[in-house]
């Protein structure tokens, strides 16, 4: 391997890593606020890519059906809870939040049926379509067991992932998709051809990480989320609803996942089940960051991207083995450094 190949691999690795950064940050965000390790998170990214691809060809994306089904289910569950709590006056609000709002983007798709939209509109629409999935899943699956232990929530999340993959095949079909490149400009820097797409990915990742930082540091809502993450009971005492915080965390994280889905769609072929591996690799990054630290997670995710890129050069068949295998030394290091602390906070 000479320096040129190394540079190309490094560039590739950083681009992949940048995508994992966005998903990894989302993982940490959801986990911190809701204590759910949201395994199906990678699926959200894959679904965005698939949605974008269907919009590109003018077909109605499968997301519409998925969101509609989830919205109806969530509304039924919410109405049932409200009626049981003797609060029928809240029904219209539930109707708005769980049925009308999630289905707004779907109606937009309905009206634009047949016509092919411009690229920015397509991207915005696919993001809007995918956004409600995670909060609706939260309402249907996780809200009833919000006080369960982390391990139980994790088990449910793993099961949910398999349900979503099956539904993904049902709604999106088995074909793999690759969308049009967002840009096909190329630059030459010091004898190296740099793809503008790569720059875009890295740029987007940096911008959104920075925005997330600003959000947490300087807005009231961001501080409320942080408060929920630190202590749920304490947050309730100062008037923050953990359930609402959870929904916001899911929305924000879905946005991150959606953006990474849009970014990854032109550079890799995405299938209905591609999300799991993308998500799990981001996860390895999040574990390097101990599921708690945002900067360490970002660093870990870039590391995973680099490792994957170099591994695919040396032993392309074993790149998955290498990427998941890296977790073992990482865990060894983690277990030596903070095992005792982890065990004590297993269930809050």
């Amino acid at each position: 391997m000479d320096t040129e190949i190394a540079a190309i691999l490094a560039m590739d690795g950083i681009a992949t890593g940048a995508i994992y950064v966005l998903i990894g940050l989302g993982f940490v965000l959801i986990f911190a606020v809701t204590r759910v390790i949201f395994v199906p998170f990678g699926d959200i990214a894959a679904f965005t890519a698939l949605t974008l691809a269907s919009l590109e060809t003018g077909r109605s994306p499968g997301t519409v059906g998925l969101v509609a089904a989830l919205a109806v289910l969530a509304l039924l569950m919410e109405s049932f809870t409200l009626l049981k709590a003797r609060a029928p006056h809240l029904l219209p609000r539930a109707f708005l939040c769980y049925l009308i709002l999630p289905l707004l983007p779907a109606t937009a798709v309905w009206f634009s049926a047949g016509s092919i939209l411009a690229m920015p509109e397509r991207i915005a629409l696919s993001l809007a379509l995918v956004l409600p999935i995670a909060p609706l899943l939260d309402r249907v699956v996780f809200r009833p067991i919000a006080d369960a232990s982390v391990l139980l929530l994790l088990t449910v999340a793993v099961a949910l992932h398999f349900a979503l993959v099956g539904l993904g095949l049902l709604f999106f079909g088995p074909e793999g998709v690759r969308t049009e490149p967002l840009t096909d400009a190329n630059f030459e820097v010091g004898g190296l051809v740099v793809n503008a797409q790569t720059l875009l990915i890295v740029g987007a990742s940096i911008v959104f990480s920075a925005l997330l930082f600003l959000f947490f540091e300087f807005t009231l809502l961001g501080k409320a989320l942080r408060a929920t993450a630190i202590n749920r009971t304490g947050a309730r005492l100062v008037g923050i609803r953990p359930a609402t915080s959870g929904t916001i965390a899911y929305l924000l994280a879905s946005l991150l996942a959606g953006i990474s889905g849009v970014l990854i769609a032109p550079v890799a072929t995405i299938f209905y089940d591609s999300g799991f591996l993308i998500g799990l690799k981001a996860f390895v990054g999040a574990i390097i960051g101990a599921m708690a630290s945002y900067p360490m997670t970002a660093l870990g995710a870039v590391l995973v991207g680099l490792l994957e890129s170099f591994a695919s050069f040396w032993t392309s068949a074993f790149k998955e083995v290498v990427v998941f295998g890296i977790l073992i030394p990482v865990l060894l290091w983690r277990s030596l450094s903070l095992a005792a602390a982890e065990e004590e906070e297993t269930d809050e």
Binding site: I37, V141, R143, P144, I145, A146, D147, A148, S149, V150, L151, L152, L154, T155, V156, V158, A159, L160, H161, F162, A163, V165, G166, L167, L169, L170, R232, T233, P242, A243, L280, F283, V284, I287, M291, A317, F318, E320, V321, F324, G325, L327, I328, L331, L332, R334, S335, L336, A339, E342, E343, E344, E345, T346, D347, E348
Partner: protein, 334 residues
């Protein structure tokens, strides 16, 4: 039940099992074979999760290591399946010991997550290693033979599978009554309590982990020589979660729950495969996963509050929830 009645029931059950091939159709015997093979893995999970309080999504990988070890030795090196059993147990035990030594110091969800990761790594290893046939797998695995009699038919291997399973159940029951077994049960009381009793929690965890892996290895060995073919698919992580489902359905707190759970899930899977093509033709194999996943989620949601559900699932909620030995529930959040 008194001890005598218990023994009587046990003898009756064994008698019924022995007579089953005379009473049931060959297809039912094949189903029973699968139930027995799955129950071995589920038994390991009951020990590991239900009694020891550690959650693993990766048991399917251990089944796979054993199945591949014996298939490779018997097909490529032309050895006896019994040597294959030795290799399968050694290899699986070794891998489990290494993985356990690295990951078991971690608490709760980190351990569970790491089982997904190494489960996937091992699955991809099967799919890409040339000497085990990559994604094509290894075919023409020879049957097990006892004293020159080859166990080819499903009835003949049925006796072997269920003998192994009953033996494993008895051994596990004896183990739990022993000093070591009480130490395993104490694990759920939390690290501090275990240590104050003079038990090294890490050693006991590692022993339980390796034991669960060895039970999976037995299952993998039987599977390889029963189906006479191994490929990576049955050792994927989604099968690992199916094993977990079996252990949970059966009731995490009881050894026999492993058998009940394996039976319920296997029969359910079979009837889903029968009926789904009628309800939704075309997409049935994927819908099967959806149905199982949804059932699993419902089970976990219900299990926590509805103890009257009678499928003693609550132990899982409890096993998972009381990792530190806390029985009282935290206040409702929403």
């Amino acid at each position: 039940m008194t001890r005598f009645q218990l023994r009587l029931a046990g003898c009756g059950a064994i008698l019924l099992l022995a007579l089953a091939p005379l009473l049931l159709s060959p297809f039912s015997i094949t189903l029973l074979n699968y139930i027995g093979i799955y129950a071995l893995v589920a038994l390991g999970l009951v020990l590991l999760t239900g009694i020891g309080g550690m959650l693993s999504f990766g048991q399917a990988a251990f089944v796979g290591i054993a199945a591949y070890a014996t298939a490779w030795l018997t097909v490529k090196e032309d050895c006896s399946p019994w040597l294959g059993l030795v290799l399968a147990l050694l290899l699986t035990g070794g891998v489990a010991a290494i993985l356990g030594a690295v990951t078991l110091r971690l608490g709760g969800h980190f351990l569970a997550l790491s089982t997904i990761a190494w489960g996937l790594a091992i699955y991809f290893l099967f799919g890409n290693l040339a000497i085990v046939g990559q994604f094509n797998g290894i075919s023409d695995v020879p049957p097990i033979s006892i004293g020159g009699f080859a166990l080819v038919s499903s009835v003949s291997i049925y006796y072997l599978i269920w003998t192994v399973l009953v033996a494993a159940l008895l051994l596990a029951a004896n183990l739990l009554g022993s000093r070591q077994g009480r130490a395993i049960r104490a694990l759920r009381g939390g690290r501090i309590m275990v240590e104050s009793l003079g038990i090294n929690p890490f050693r006991i965890k590692l022993a339980t982990f390796v034991m669960a892996a060895l039970l999976s290895a037995l299952s993998g060995w039987l599977y390889a020589h029963m189906s006479r073919f191994v490929s990576p698919a049955p050792f994927d992580v989604n099968v690992g979660i199916l094993y977990l489902l079996m252990a949970m359905v059966g009731g995490m707190g009881h050894l026999l729950g492993a058998v009940v759970g394996a039976a319920v899930v296997t029969l359910l899977k079979n009837s889903i495969q029968d009926y789904l093509p009628i309800i939704a033709p075309g997409a049935s194999s994927q819908l099967e996963i959806v149905v199982f996943a949804v059932l699993f989620i419902l089970l976990l949601q219900r299990a926590r509050r509805d103890r009257a559900l009678r499928i003693e699932v609550s132990p899982i909620g409890e096993a998972i929830g009381s990792y530190r030995g806390r029985i009282s529930r935290p206040p409702r959040a929403a």
